[in-house]
Symmetry: C2
Subunit: 201 residues, 2 copies
DNA sequence: AGCTTGTTGTACTGATCGGTACAGTGAGAC
DNA sequence: GTCTCACTGTACCGATCAGTACAACAAGCT
């Protein structure tokens, strides 16, 4: 793909990571358009020449940030990688909640924040879509596993159920975000889990 | 409150409306930070002095835009004002879907788009929250009506059920938005409705 | 007519935006 | 050592940003 420059030395990698880290954090709070390249560089301690050494332009930095978000998200819900029982699914929802319980930052999904803003950007929107599909794919795989084990009805559609689960997660996070109250996410996950359990076999 | 200047003549009102209309449309697509005051004025045909005659600054324009969004949203789902039966609730979800079926613009909730971006802005975030609560209040009232008529279980919590419904709407729209596919919203609404019907009495 | 008040056009400011130019430095390869 | 190339620091560019200054206009009221 060669869309971005790789860092070929440890020092370079450190700098590049520092830039992406700072950008990810700032954009999580202030949005993409609200986060200037200058602010990112000030926060990361890097200079402009570094930034444009590793990224062709701001959009490419945002691409890296989207990747970083996906890594963070999946890293915070490791249960999603081994969904082999209904109990595992419940563990997954618990991990999802725990991330936002030990607050610090705002209650929000970094990708969800981007979704609204990036909306039509022809370069960025597909990447956000891709990130969501990647996330969702782990759910699909898990549900298929359950289906193979005979714990999910054979006529259930794992892809569709997974999308419904993602919908609950995102809706719950959006409402929880603006209300500064996790209740919406808790309820959404509980309802979603109950819905999925309706396809138990 | 006197937060904003009112237009006291028909001519002034027309100008003010044109500015808000243009801003609402542009911000729906490009976000708040992505929409400059200059672009709004170019699109509305107004000059800068008009803008700052009616609004103290850009944030106050955004406030007016949020109000406009709520009007548009509620105007597109009139069934929400008279929810007196389960059939009315179904009608409401159908209206919700119809808005986005006769596409044109992107599939998205204008308030939802703002939610991510505005996230922490201490001036704007409460207004988005307020708009959502206003929207939701009509659902709460409808569910209470059903409860009074004995069609909803007495121990059901209308406020909590309404929040769950909003969560589904927003999640469905967010996923439908990035996928350019209404399926997510259709499923989310169907699931939400079924969940509510579980409290039928 | 003249006065008042709401409204409008245009020109401008200083700050910040994304992006570039270019000279320099650092560390590993030989 | 010295060559090389990845990496870095700083100064700069034109464009655009939100917001201001100020003079002119339009219309209702007396």
């Amino acid at each position: 793909m060669e869309t971005q420059a790789a860092a070929s030395t440890p020092r370079g990698k450190r700098t590049r990571d520092a830039i992406v880290d700072a950008a990810a954090q700032l954009m999580y709070v202030d949005g993409v358009a609200g986060t200037s390249v200058d602010k990112v560089l000030a926060a990361s301690g890097a200079g402009k020449s570094q930034m444009y050494h590793y990224f062709k332009n701001k959009d490419q930095l945002v691409e890296a940030v989207i990747d970083r978000y996906l890594e963070q998200i999946l890293g915070n819900q490791p249960a999603i990688f081994e969904l082999t029982s209904w109990a595992d699914l419940e563990t997954w929802t618990e991990q999802l909640l725990d991330v936002h319980r030990r607050a610090g930052g705002p209650i929000a999904c970094p990708l969800g924040n981007l979704a609204g803003e990036v909306g039509d950007n022809p370069k960025l929107a597909p990447l956000v879509d891709q990130a969501y599909r990647n996330w969702e794919s782990h759910l699909v795989r898990g549900l298929k596993t359950l289906q193979d084990k005979g714990e999910l009805a054979p006529d259930a559609d794992p892809a569709r159920l997974a999308q419904a689960a993602m919908t609950s997660v995102q809706g719950g996070l959006l409402i929880a975000h603006i209300r500064h109250d996790l209740t919406a996410l808790e309820d959404a996950l509980r309802i979603a889990l109950a819905y999925l359990r309706g396809f138990r076999s």
